[in-house]
Amino acid sequence: MQVEHVLELNDIVVQFGQRTVLDHIDVAIEAGEFVGLIGPNGAGKTTLLRVILGLLSPNHGEVRVDGKSVRKRNRAIGYVPQKIHLDPDTPLRGRDLVGLGLDGHRFGVPLPSRKRRARIDEVLEAVDALRFADAPVGRLSGGEQQRLLIAQALLTDPKILLLDEPLSNLDIRSAHEVVRLVGRLGKERGIAVILVAHDMNPLLGHMDKVLYLAEGHAAMGEVDAVIQSEVLSRLYGYEVEVLRVRGRVLVVGGRDEEADVVDLLGGFHCGDHEDVMNS
């Protein structure tokens, strides 16, 4: 039986000058699948998203959405940036921001209509943001803004939702809420989700698959199959060790000078925060 893939990356190569950032990457993602894109700084996670979004054309390889090869930006892909920077006094309400997902690319001034309002209310409710929908966006917390940005992306009616480090400004609790929300929306609406994160721990138990990037190489599959010392050592090109401590995953570098760097990726941050919270 052949599985329909909503997104396929075939043999993607991206070079910046002499440097190969993505080195023959193959990825296939099914509808409704929740994929965590994990990797150290500079591994090429953002670059990979930019290729999928059509903002960067790869030196080699192709992107297929719904079986069709795409070269440019694609309507079927929704994008959630990490953060928006708005002054607290900015005259923009949550629902205005979300409404931009509906018709922000069109010419002219948005005319209020019952249908428009209903569609905006529907996604606001889906991300549980109705209660702060009329507050100025610049006054909302990082987690609240994140929900609005997700609602905004949902209104573009995407088959694939890309989120670049949505958790990095959030505390542990908001991070878990956003992960749970995105997981639920993906399942309910059949949207494939790719969520970029440094630390895979908040995603454990929620993501269907992990896509691990390191040194230009990728490994994708179930968490238990990919997050293995042998698999990750092959990606990094040197010995790394995967440690599981109290239900959390740590990736520890084997080479002395790399040890700290890789160590941090595995979830030291996470552990620190949780200790603080527990105490």
Binding site: Y79, I84, P91, L92, G108, F132, A135, P136
Partner: protein, 299 residues
């Protein structure tokens, strides 16, 4: 009754062609400045606004030397500067340094031009016109083109309203939606230049940013709806400009010399008064947002 009317509308007010022109152009400038200004606040570009004013002033000073109307000097330098600033770079730091350098060069050029204007041409009043505007002495020849560029800027702004809003909120989202972010940025700069330079011609380069910054600052204290803020901002600008013209016309009867007070003075004072009044307005919108949130959580 008629005495009251006479008091408000000094005799001959609406018979005077200069005054009608002042109302027409002044109100148009106020509307554009008000709406553009809301986006200036949203995009954090007030500094660029000041830069365009000063560079436009250099252009206007130069225009007296070559014997064309000041408007051509304002607008050509303003648009070039606006497009230049946008083209210079995306990185904010880089941009501020580059802008600052261009700015000081333009100021130097402007002072040289003004020096020549007063020394070697018959335009001893050039500095006055550049700095304080020429609301009541507008050359009828430029009124059609000022009106046309102003209306065109307004139409274009309403056309690109939504894409501009997306770009202002987050350029990355805009790019993924297929909006040409660079082009929209340059287009907005040109609109800003038109608003500022048309304003400079009328109320002078000292004050054209007052119409860009003051009314939006007032409007966003009253509402957090972007559409309503744009309308309010334009409205406040129109009222300040209209009243300013009335008062300036009346001031021909005032001491000390019965020669009239500058209209820009009245507009500046009114803009400030409106802003101060808006500060009396309770900060209802935040309290409301939080309050309704709490109510729903309880429910």
């Amino acid at each position: 009754m008629t005495t009251v009317l006479h008091y408000v509308f000094a005799p001959g007010l609406l018979q005077s062609e200069e005054v009608l022109h002042a109302f027409l152009v002044g109100i148009l400038v106020a509307v554009i400045s008000g709406v553009v200004g809301v986006f200036v606040v949203l995009r954090g570009q007030s500094f660029v606004g000041h830069v365009l004013t000063d560079i436009g002033a250099a252009g206007a000073s130069g225009s007296f030397l070559v014997g064309v109307n000041a408007w051509y000097g304002f607008i050509s330098f303003g648009i070039l500067a606006g497009a230049g600033v946008e083209w210079l770079g995306d990185r904010a730091r880089n941009r501020d340094v580059a802008t600052g350098i261009i700015l000081s060069f333009a100021m130097g050029l402007g002072s040289l031009f003004l020096y020549f204007d007063t020394r070697f041409t018959s335009n001893a009043s050039a500095p006055m016109m550049v700095l304080f505007g020429s609301m009541f002495v507008l050359n009828p020849g430029v009124i059609p083109i000022v009106t046309f560029t102003g209306l065109a800027a307004l139409v274009v702004l309403l056309l690109i309203y939504r894409p501009l809003l997306v770009c202002s909120v987050n350029p990355e989202i805009a790019k993924t939606r297929g909006i040409p972010v660079r082009l929209v940025g340059i287009l907005f700069m040109i609109l800003l230049a038109i608003a500022i330079e048309d304003g400079s011609l009328v109320v002078g380069s000292l004050l054209s940013t007052a119409l860009i910054i003051g009314p939006p600052a007032t409007a966003i204290r009253l509402t957090s709806r972007i559409g309503l803020a744009s309308v309010l901002s334009a409205g406040i600008g129109v009222v300040a400009t209209g009243l300013g013209i009335l008062l300036a016309y009346d001031s021909y009867l005032w001491p000390p010399v019965h020669r009239g007070w500058p209209v820009s003075f009245f507009i500046a004072v009114l803009v400030l008064v409106f802003y101060l009044l808006s500060r009396l307005w309770p900060e209802r919108r935040y309290a409301q947002g939080a309050g309704s949130a709490r109510r729903e959580e309880v429910a």
